[in-house]
């Protein structure tokens, strides 16, 4: 087995993540890294769909949120929603089944649309989902739900949830890359590269797209369940257009053609969200006037500027920058200009311009 520098870097990162609770502060583990891993898990589904199937989805955050709402409706004992008050664990299978079925339904509806059309369609689903949970008071209403308990196994043990997030993230990462090598994954990549040829070869392109969307929805649902355990509450504004775009921004910042970019982007996003206001100069971008109530932090402006900058400089995000830097470094060291250009590994998507 060839140990590429890429898998080495991932292994080192995993080791670091597993050891982190022994030396990192509790705040860092719970509020920065657990959140990073959950968001990264959700964002990795966007990257999976984009890089292996060629579908740019904005509906992943909706499915993430729906899983949370389902857990909330099933588990919460009082407040808004159905308040079934069942055991916390029972929410998991129900949420995953509903999230996956929703993903399959949306995937079936939009399987014939591609490219930018698909992006807009999924954005529409996302916003409709927001209004659905806002208006339909049976399931939530704009006020949202609170007091959704995680299973007692996690209560008071934030590190346990962290470890679960690490393991699930790793599973998703390895799983997505493994799926890409199965005949199913190969067919998906064929659909990405040339749907017309694939359908004339006898593949049901729409069913493949739908199944890929369902798989991504399943993983996004897992992330949603983790999030509701971590958060304990959910309301429709947390699945409105802003957070929907945020998740996509995470995937884009990390680099939408590299799976590990999802977690990288999530880390940058979460860290920026928490630490930005402490940075003396950067935290004041966007006109901070002290006598205005809302002027304390302009995080979104900064994240927007970062996104704009990344899109203008490096459309494949931070992971793309790293990969390019590596390539430059390697070709500089080898000093063999006659050698062939570094060919991407078979499972790596061609670095097509998004």
């Amino acid at each position: 087995m060839k140990l590429s520098s890429r898998s080495l870097a991932v292994a080192v990162a995993c080791l670091f993540l597993l050891l982190l609770p022994s030396f990192g502060s509790e705040f860092f583990v719970d509020f920065v890294m657990t959140r990073t891993l959950m968001l990264g898990l959700a964002a990795s589904t966007i990257v999976f769909l984009s890089s292996y199937v060629g579908m740019n989805s904005l509906a992943q955050w909706l499915i993430f949120g729906v899983a949370g709402f389902v857990v909330g409706n099933v588990v919460a004992e009082s407040g808004r929603g159905l308040t079934l008050g069942w055991a916390p664990w029972s929410g998991v299978p129900i949420a995953l089944v509903i999230a996956t079925s929703l993903a399959l339904l949306l995937g079936a509806l939009s399987a014939r649309s591609t490219g930018i059309y698909f992006l807009m369609l999924t954005l529409t689903y996302a916003v409709i989902g927001f209004y659905f949970f806002g208006q339909v008071t049976t399931f939530s209403g704009f006020g949202g739900m609170t007091g959704i308990d995680a299973p007692s196994f996690f209560l008071g043990h934030p590190k346990r949830l962290y470890y679960v997030a690490v393991v699930l993230s790793l599973l998703a990462y390895v799983g997505f890359r493994a799926v890409a090598k199965t005949p199913f994954g190969m067919a998906l990549q064929g659909v990405r590269d040339d749907p017309i040829r694939m359908s004339s070869l006898g593949f049901n392109v729409q069913a493949l797209r739908m199944l890929a969307f369902g798989l991504a929805g399943f993983v996004a649902g897992i992330a949603g369940v983790l999030n509701i355990w971590w958060n304990g509450q959910i309301d429709p504004s947390s699945i409105s257009i802003g957070p929907t775009l945020d998740l996509f921004i995470i995937a884009v910042i990390g680099g939408i053609v590299h799976l590990e970019g999802a977690w990288l982007g999530a880390f940058v996003f979460v860290a920026a969200n928490i630490y930005l206001r402490d940075i003396p100069l950067l935290g004041r971008i966007g006109g901070v006037i002290e006598d205005r109530i809302l002027a304390a932090e302009r995080f979104n402006t900064v994240i927007g500027l970062v996104l704009l900058l990344i899109m203008l400089i490096s459309p494949d995000g931070l992971a793309g920058m790293v990969a390019r830097g590596q390539r430059t470094f390697r070709s500089g060291r080898a000093e063999t200009p006659a050698g062939p250009a570094p060919t991407p590994t078979p499972d790596e998507p061609s670095a097509a311009t998004p």
């Binding site: 740019n56 509806l109 939009s110 014939r112 649309s113 490219g115 930018i116 059309y117 992006l119 807009m120 369609l121 954005l123 529409t124 689903y125 916003v127 409709i128 209004y131 659905f132 208006q135 339909v136 008071t137 005949p183 199913f184 190969m186 067919a187 070869l201 006898g202 593949f203 049901n204 069913a207 493949l208 199944l211 409105s240 257009i241 802003g242 775009l245 996509f248 921004i249 884009v252 966007g286 006109g287 205005r292 809302l294 002027a295 302009r298 995080f299 979104n300 402006t301 994240i303 927007g304 500027l305 996104l307 704009l308 899109m311 203008l312 459309p315 311009t353 998004p354």
Partner: protein, 369 residues
Amino acid sequence: MLETNATDDADIKFGVLHMTPGQIRRFRRIPLAVVWLLITFAVVWVLFLADRSWTARTSAGAAIEEPGEFIVTLLDGLTFAGLLFVVAAGFTLIFGLMRTVNMAHGAFFLLAAYIAIDVQKRMVGKTRNIETDDVSMLQWIIPLLVGATIAAVLGVVMQQLFLRWNQGQDLRQAIITMAVTVILADQMLFQYGGLAKKMVWPGDTVRFFDIMGQRYASSRLFMLGISLVVGVLLWLWLNRTRMGMVIRAGVDDKDMVRALGINVTVVFGVTFFVGSFLAGMGGAMGGSFAGVALGTDGQWLLNSLIVVIIGGLGSIKGAAAGSLLYGMVTAFSPAYLPADYTFYSIIFTFVILAVVLAVRPNGLFGRSE
């Protein structure tokens, strides 16, 4: 490699993944039948069944019994469709020519509305409690033009700075406009706060009149009139002027237009100006019609998206058809749904979207690429 292909394929083809073209075609006929069934049921329900003692209670009665309520609902749908058309036409114009999905369309809408409201306050000379009678026609139209022009200029600046040189990379362009949206939304929250604001109709347009026992505000008809004027002007511009001819040709074949020696850059700039201007106009109209607040930008991005997805991207005709359909559904579903379920009306938005996509994946007037 070649010899193993046959066995590999055999592994992959199973179940639903492998249907003959005939089966797939027959499979696709199901949605159309369902669509007709749904439409028939909706029409029968609205005309005859709604709010009878043996059916569910609805806020509006059956059309043959309560024609006034029916006409008012119809007018509500029509006037809202007019506003939808103004905004969505700008969106679809930009997409049709440049393949740019302008995610900042909603942000331009909101920004223009805020600016128009501010300008109106300055012109009237009152900062709060402006009555419709304080406002003359000019004090409504000038704020509208100012707001729309600023939105339009901003649109052109965005296009020239960020989008001109990566033409054709549609996802990258969409993300760039997304970044602009995030920045604009945050800055607007900073400037204008989170409270709802409203522009005031000019006094001359706010009269109430009677339709079969129902009171109706003429300001909504005024809005419909403006939308019709915009529609006619757009049609004249696109079909009767040289610039419009170039734009229509560009929609069909951009490279050919460029090869004929036409300065496409200028045409792109003008189109972006007009598209963003329409968003801004819609903002001022929507600000008078329903008020604006934090989040209105996302709502109107959604509205534009739904209209163009229904109507077909890049088609003005499609924008008209899409706004009509969407406007009608948003007006009729709360009025004719059973009273306990009116909050489910949002689902109908999704239903028309799903239905249209199931039958015509590229929208009613869209062309397959």
